[in-house]
Symmetry: C2
Subunit: 146 residues, 2 copies
DNA sequence: AATACGAACTAGACTTTGTCTAAACCGCTG
DNA sequence: CAGCGGTTTAGACAAAGTCTAGTTCGTATT
């Protein structure tokens, strides 16, 4: 289940409350727990990783609530859903515009500053459609020894 | 299961054989069936769509073989695997470099000519890594009536 | 303080995509 | 014709995510 052994600092509760408020999300104990964990730093976590981390702490949050909450966060733009790994969705706590570097052999996901990549001009979009986002993913692998 | 009611023309068998040969893949009846279907035109199909289409024709190809074959095609670069829809992988028969426009509400996936999007410069990559690909995805939705 | 009510949470069943295993099959070659 | 890789197959399995129906929670009203 691969719980990273990172520092377990959480975002202060007041800051988590502010984040939810800014996005019009009612604060609940479980939503705050998830926000405090996810926004502790810039990172990309899957639902299962969050579930596992919460279990490590004493925070009992059910699987259904973790999924519901992440969907809610994503809908309101509080987190960015990153579709890169075909097996699972990542939730990105970095809200600044940026792109991604994906190491296919390790599963590691890295942020790439947007300045280095220029989208020249988007194609003319069909009328009545709105752009939700432009995602750039650079897939890399460790070079095969030949 | 959503089998599109498109014309059921298949790629001529000889051309499918040539494609496999070019990529060092041994030709079998099942692999040819899949290639003839997928490369009939530029399109993006999921494994399940291919399985369903094959069933419509009299071609009995097992689920395991469809998945095995698509993985084989993807590894050898005969098809391009497109990770966009978190629920399933698409296999792209358009081998020319290009980007994608994804309609999140319909699931429709459209090609975008690469000329319109410029990648200015890639970040300095860690030594010993090779770029497998750079994918640009524009996610759009039908504008909500407000 | 007791009650009512909508929102949120939960356990667990369920669905879907994709992988794996073990047996059967197929085309060759010796 | 026996043997041998490589391929195909059915069906079991795994994992992510969704759904349902019942419970709990927070708050407002009496
Ligand atoms: Mn989700
Ligand atoms: Mn090629
Ligand atoms: Zn990111
Ligand atoms: Zn395409």
């Amino acid at each position: 289940m691969n719980v990273s052994p990172e520092s377990s600092d959480l975002l202060p509760r007041e800051q988590a409350e502010a984040l939810l408020a800014q996005h019009g999300i009612a604060a609940t104990e479980q939503r705050l727990e998830i926000a405090r964990l996810l926004f502790a730093r810039h990172q990309h976590l899957s639902a299962e990783q969050i579930l596992a981390q919460l279990s490590l702490q004493a925070s009992r949050v059910s699987k259904a609530t973790v999924y519901n909450t992440l969907n809610l966060f994503a809908e309101t733009g509080l987190v960015r859903e990153v579709i890169i790994d075909p097996a699972k969705r990542f939730y990105d706590s970095n809200l600044d515009p940026h792109h991604h570097l994906f190491h296919t052999d390790t599963g590691r996901l890295e942020d790439v500053p947007p300045a280095r990549i220029q989208i020249a001009d988007l194609p003319g979009l069909p009328a009545g459609t709105e752009v939700l986002g432009v995602d750039v993913v650079i897939r890399v692998a460790t070079r095969k020894p030949q």
